[in-house]
Amino acid sequence: MAKKRDSQKDRKRQAAKGVSRRDFVKKGTAAGVGASAAVLSTSGTALAQVSPVTAITWHYEADVVIIGGGCTGLPAAIRARDLGASVIVVDQNFDLGGKMLHSGGWVSLGGGDPLQLRDIKGEGDREGFVTAPRQHTVAELTEDPDFLFRDHTDWSVMDTAAQAPYRYNERDLHRAYADNCYATREFLMANYVRFTRISGTHGNGGMSRARRATTFLMEGSTTDIKQGTISRRDAGVAGVSSSHFAPRVMGDGAKIASTGARTNGAALSRGLEFSAREKGVRFLLNRHMDEIIREQQFSGRVVGIRASYSPRLDPVTGAQLQSLWQNGNVDDRTETIFIRARKAIIIGAGGHGANPQFRSMFYPAWREPAFVSSGWALLGPRGQDASGIIAGMRIGANLAGMQQNLGYDSTFHFPGVLATRDPYTDMLPGHPTFSMRGSTGIALGSDSFQHVIVVNQVGKRFFNELLVTRRQGGAWFPAAPEKGQPKRGLDHVQLDWRNASVDNIRATYAEPNSIHAALAMNEGSKAPDYFSGPIWAIFDRAAVERDKWNIDPPFTSPTNGFFFSADTIEELAARIHADHEFQRIPLTYLAETVRRWNAYVDKGSDPEFGRGADAPMYRVEKPPFYAATLYPVWHDSYGGLRINGRTQVVDMQGEPIPGLYAGGEASGGGQQHGLGRALVHGYIAGTNAAAEATGTR
């Protein structure tokens, strides 16, 4: 029987992840701080500063120390290095790139950025790769920073869930964002990032103009960042293999760049990584930041960090995972080290999606430890653990945008991939972290859910299955009633009260709310946490044959506890309970649920959840029977450290904490999905960090 996870054990386990008890006591004693004087937070990070400056022997030092080598950290590192600063980047993972590496590569900027201007002129790129015609009219591409700023702070825009995605954005931060989009796009293009034509705008990137392009490399015989080429093997083969270079198979950019263009975040991330290594940035990978050290806990400059060794091992071979490239790496396996920052520290450690205690601040149901953040397998269990935010809080940082998690439809959602704990990421055999996934999962479109019933941890249905994974789109260009706006495209009017009128909201509201039913308490939810528990798609052999699903490895795993088959429903329920680590109770009602469902199918209607009107219904009757997890994922993180327009972290008095910067998902006050927000933050942070005066300690 699988070891079960309960709330008390989970809390202890999470605490142990943040800092080991042995390490904590040792450091506390060395610093003359009694262990009882510190209070362990839920993530295990001490709330009191445990490393007074006078007691520290620094192992490394640099002008700028950056926490996290992802979408904020890499541009910050390059920018600071360009301006003459020495830079050390620490990252808890074995490779660089963070979530950016796995992303679609879409970068939404705007405000009249160089790419908009390139498309307006109908020009291609410097290397001659981009030959596709532009995707938008001149009017759809024409704007300036003032216009972009208004778009990103427009109080009136509502989406189909009656959420206002722009009104709560921090004004100073978004003014700086609008003013730095041009420079950031130019900077990226000067650091081996190749952009396609602009195509639409990314999530919450504004209602009024097209601002988004993805990144690409041209398929060639070899992978050569300088030449802009990628081998077919490194680009990956859909449904078969990915590569260490690109954990997610790269897409076809023929329509938005040219034939042979392969697109996604690997082209962005690896380009920036290549540039950073080339320019002399040093990297301490497998190194988790546990503490930011300030002269005094709530005053003075930040002076450095404490970081612990965090190697990742292949669960099959036991081998330690290694980064794709090694030049610039510092391979130090000391358990705990201290790194001095002479000028500044930049927090680009990502969000909080993998920290159940932190994310439950926004939604108590998300204290359920079964559910992971996107990138769980790619980044490891300590990725997205809120450590950057918590470290900032511990030295007095304020927070911002804490409610904005609830206003974007992919913050937490069902990706619709069965039979895997990590349903968002797409690593296939060929990437070092595939073994962490164990299975690719069975990816289903929402219509394929007509072939299954979906039940909670006690075996009861809770919603119309066809709506369980359905999400209503957010509000971004091009405007349309199906996105919540009264007018379409360029007819959208900024700051118009009619956008937010009750009549318009009534006419456009379309939030299915299904995920909230999935996360609701049920008969198996117990105090004090009332976990909703795992969610299961139940189907039969006939469903597999009808919709032509491949349920063999690597799509499923016979051993990872996320997919089961049995000759009878009763047996299926027993297997789930025995071998799924988060199935804490029997699926008492499953057999009765299937019987009742089959009776509804015979009648042609589902009085409980309205199936039958939207798609055909099929009995679950033909053995063998299958159960596959349908797990939600926490993807975006909104809400984090409050930063100003210079990306300085701001304290509870509204004053910048000297020398401390942050960006991306570690910061709050901006509800823009995707990479643009973090890249601009990184650019601004790198610029300002390099200009800081050198500290004396």
Binding site: G104, D447, A615
Partner: protein, 211 residues
Amino acid sequence: MSEHVAEASTPISSTVMPHATSVVAWDIPSAIVAGERFRMKVGIKCSNECRLTNGHFGVYDHEGAQAATGTLPDERWPGTTGLYVAEVELAAPASEGLYTWSVKGLESDSGPHVESSISFGVRVVGNPEYLVRVETVDGVSQTPLGGARVVMHPYQAVADARGVAEVRVAKGAYRLFVSQTRYLTFCLPVEVTADMTARAELDLAPVPERN
């Protein structure tokens, strides 16, 4: 529950717990014309994965009368660990309606097993006098969608290689559904009062964009 006393030099009392069983029933046609015969499959499994060869089961109609009996075969059903399956032929009731029938097994001398049962629906329809011809195509390329599934509850059919499905239905109002893997389900309300032809143009389901 039965008790046996083992014959040995030292008497040992042991209790043989009867094994639980589970019954499954499938391949019941979704619509059966009144009075006609139909076939279905019945499977029984012992919780201890006992060999159930020659085990008996009965099929009972909505009034509890035995409609058929079956005997389990020598071999387990392929792809299962202990399911024994037999096919039975039955006669549908003479009147239209949705009936609840049941299967009970194992019966009589099938060893120390607890009898279990499962109920299932038998949808009996009148004479389906009208032919609905459904042409299924990709909405963009207009190429036929062979294998598309056509459902006009309770009637079902599968499109042939030309993308054509023919469904015989009784007069009435239906939702005509056409489904195909990777396509959005097509739905059209239809009133059938004569033979008719419908054309279903299906759109590919959008691939969710992710960043």
